[in-house]
Symmetry: C2
Subunit: 304 residues, 2 copies
């Protein structure tokens, strides 16, 4: 059961020759969620041999170009590739207007349904769920309405031991209940406790994505204990004033968020192109939160 | 005096891991002209170490996304980089509307002047000129108003021989006239013919860009004798019917255009992603016009 994030772009607004603008791809058990879509995202997907057609859900944090300008080409490519499955886009109100305004110039109707789900960025909400996973929006603090996303697996059922099914001849109907935690009551009335029949399920895994924002303590409770926290770190802490003015976060502040959330791992990215040595972001953050990685395009991070 | 074209993107509508959508950069004597601007153009400029700030004129052939989607990011990056020099964009009417519609979402005024020059694509016109170069629009045949561009150097003045200036003590005022072709009349009335005083100037160089289009014989006269002709070749000739229906050109047809125009060299690009072996495009074209190159991203072609 895969649960891994691929970094498709790690620059902030100005891309460099090494770093494309922001986009992440989360593979949660072979369901693919695209998170932000900076210019060139479709080329990065091809470069890292990730199949465009597997993406059905795109989450956009805010309308700034370094998080959205790849959408136009991607939507167009889906059309050319003959896509028929609907595509769901989750984002702030203004994004839908921008896309609709844009699509009127393509002059051809998309051959697939584009379903837009508007997110209110001021409060958290459950914005997506399926059998295995749910996605919560995380209110962020930026110059335009912006939200992050918490992807978390739903608690799984307990794993029933095959030999116990044989031993007690447990019928299917009861297997369903036992997986949910029920004990087994035998015909004679004897009770076999659930703990003898099952093993506990794998712990649900989680990934939180926070870009762009000032540090927002209000979301700490929501991301408490998250396995991987991606948090933007546009500036080094020497530039904390600039970070505050531009509604961004410093590397040290991102590490404080990870520490206070009790995250398993911190990924930092969205680096301003003013800095030459990205390793310094990592060093700064590690002073506060050791398990930090300053990401590069193409990096893959897995939660075991 | 440089006169060279860098290929920034060579795919058609669907980019691949190797080929970005269409964009060319012409360096004509250290003046840089960007021609079309597919998604990722700004990243390609950085990748090939070409300075964004040197571009003051952008020519867009038509509004299709694989020729325009890089504009949004480029215009935004210029703003972030503190650009102050005006930026000139030449393109069909609809492009201006598209850009204006788009810019209203950026919510910040550009810090530089964006000057849009509307091109009528139905007939040729002089759309740009400076001291050294002029640009003519070339009417093309596509599904939306589309034009190509002919960049050609203006005829230069004759090169006066330094030793003749000394020998006859020619004053500056007369040097100007002699460079333009005048003979030298000495005080006594004797005439020194211009051919004894000067060498002929370098031949003006030229580059024609034709994408996207059905083969258009109507422009042959305009591009007659061009040094380098770039012509789209989206399809192989086996797919000539498809090329016609989609208003594109086959590799063989592009070669016929080069042959009939008496071009020096033919560059072909804008290859459909349906073909695996791009070398076959080159082979097909070479049957008709030997000096053909199927271009790759990053290729540089110089006119000596």
């Amino acid at each position: 059961m895969s649960f891994e994030v691929t970094i498709l772009g790690s620059s902030s607004a100005l891309p460099t020759s090494e770093r494309f603008p922001t986009a992440h791809l989360l593979n949660a058990n072979e369901r693919f969620f695209l998170i932000d879509c900076g210019e060139g995202t479709q080329m990065q997907l091809r470069r890292y041999r990730l199949r465009l057609g597997k993406i059905h859900h795109i989450f956009i944090s805010h309308i700034h170009g370094d998080h959205t300008f790849g959408l136009f080409g991607l939507l167009s490519s889906y059309n050319l590739l003959g896509r028929e499955e609907p595509l769901h886009i989750y984002g702030p109100d203004l994004l839908e207007e921008m896309l609709l305004d844009h699509l009127k110039y393509s002059r051809s109707d998309l051959g697939y349904n584009l379903l837009f789900h508007r997110i209110q960025c001021r409060r958290t909400a459950l914005i997506y769920e399926d059998k295995n996973i749910e996605v919560l929006s995380l209110p962020l603090i930026h110059r335009v309405p912006t939200c992050g996303f918490l992807f978390r697996e739903k608690p799984r059922e307990r794993n029933i031991l095959k030999e116990k099914i044989t031993e007690y001849g447990i019928p299917v109907r009861q297997i369903v209940e036992i997986k949910k935690g029920a004990d087994l009551v035998l015909t004679g009335g004897a009770v076999i406790p659930n703990a003898e029949l099952t093993l506990p399920p794998a712990r649900p895994r989680s990934y939180a994505y926070c870009s762009d924002t000032r540090p927002n303590k209000a979301i700490l409770q929501l991301i408490k204990g998250v396995d991987i926290l991606y948090h933007e770190a546009t500036f080094m802490h020497d530039d904390a004033k600039l970070a505050h003015e531009t509604f961004h976060t410093t590397s040290r502040q991102a590490a404080e968020m990870a520490k206070n959330a009790g995250a398993g791992k911190l990924l930092i990215g969205h680096f301003s192109s003013r800095y030459k040595h990205i390793s310094e972001f990592e060093s700064e953050a590690k002073m506060v939160f050791q398990n930090t990685v300053a990401v590069n395009d193409g990096d893959v991070f897995e939660v075991d």
